[in-house]
Symmetry: C2
Subunit: 234 residues, 2 copies
């Protein structure tokens, strides 16, 4: 930071640095208040170079939204082993989602708050990402119903509605978790897993969903032992 | 519509007509594309009168958001009989919410999409309304835990998270239901009630939450008989 460096660096690398800085400033200051001066300074480049590479504040913001949206979808996809039982898949997906949003609070603020608050063109990028996640969750619920080995009495409309409800719940909870000091990603994931899988009725009756034991989880992952670090905090 | 009427009418009545027209136009066209000409025409008044009463497009939009937010919170509060068991209260709250949002799709579009998409001052009004609903739902979950007559193992943080998740799920599902032709408010409410109360696990096991029988419901309401019209569609 501070002094503008002129060291030679591949364009792609420098562009990522600009995006890193922009996500941080947009996420913390908000789109309107964010200044291109501050972004350039944080990225360690000159302001004209930011404009040369990213064109305008609008297109820099759009590039941030795209990058953060892709990273989030990729994190959720990569976190789920599709060969596991449905409840384990859901747990892994939620865990991956909340881990990603808690590690990238500025990116999540850009997607969940900023991108939806400053006009339809920005919001449209987030809507497209959301659609991808809804399709993924819908498939997961369909798999779960198939796994239950019976006519699941879940018509297509109901499955679509459940997926929308689950995605909305996750978005809302992620924003709350990031704004609530001391809330870990594991806690948020466990809260939503219990809510989504066991339901409030079972929770009240003291019948929560139970996460896998660390040993079992490690075994599933083909590791040689369980680590306390990877066990969900309940 | 069409001819501008000059008939004498109390200011409060005329202002409500302007707001009715504005909610409709803002909800359907979006804030940016909405024209004050069209709003005045739909309200049956002159454009200068709209400016005289509501000052500017911004303050007209803010007045719409406030009115729709208050109406929604009031509809949910009025729909829930707090003396019922917790699951019935939740069912009534969801039913009231989805009935209101489906009957006022333009108002819901203003709150859920438009108000959050056009800058922080507008979004702040919606955030305040949302807070009220989250507090209401939090209390409902606390009551449910107390009702379960046991140490409910639900710390305050968990209850707050569950309330956030439930509100986020409802918002998401309402937007989806209004955008999906043929989805009734009762269907949306029943989908979310099952999800929230019974959970996906119970749904897959064929153990959904069951709504009250129409006769029982009518009896609870102090009516003399059940009407098929008031029974939830499943």
């Amino acid at each position: 930071m501070g002094a503008v460096k002129t060291k030679r660096m591949p364009r792609a690398v420098r562009e990522q640095q600009m995006l890193d800085a922009a996500v941080r400033i947009f996420g913390r200051r908000g789109y309107m208040a964010a200044s291109m001066d501050e972004i350039a300074e944080l990225a360690g480049v000159s302001k004209p170079l930011v404009y040369l590479y990213l064109n305008s504040k609008e297109s820099l913001f759009t590039a941030c939204i795209r990058r953060e949206a892709e990273a989030l979808v990729e994190a959720v996809r990569a976190g789920v082993r599709r060969e596991l039982p449905a409840d384990r898949q859901l747990w892994e997906g939620l865990d991956a989602f909340f881990t990603h949003t808690s590690r990238n609070p500025d990116g999540w603020a850009v997607l969940h708050l900023q991108a939806r608050t400053h006009g339809e063109p920005f919001a449209a990028v987030v809507t497209a990402m959301r659609e991808e996640i809804v399709v993924f969750v819908t498939q997961l619920i369909v798999d779960a119903a198939r796994e239950a080995h019976r006519d699941p009495h879940l018509p297509g409309r109901e499955v679509a509605g459940l997926a929308e409800a689950l995605v909305g719940a996750a978005e809302s909870l992620a924003a709350w978790a990031n704004a609530t000091p001391g809330t870990t990603a594991r806690q948020a994931a466990a809260t939503l897993m219990n809510f989504a899988w066991a339901g409030l009725g079972d929770l009240m009756d003291g019948r929560p969903w139970s996460p896998p034991e660390p040993d079992q989880d490690a075994q599933d992952r083909g590791q040689t032992g369980g680590s306390a670090e990877t066990s969900p905090t309940r």
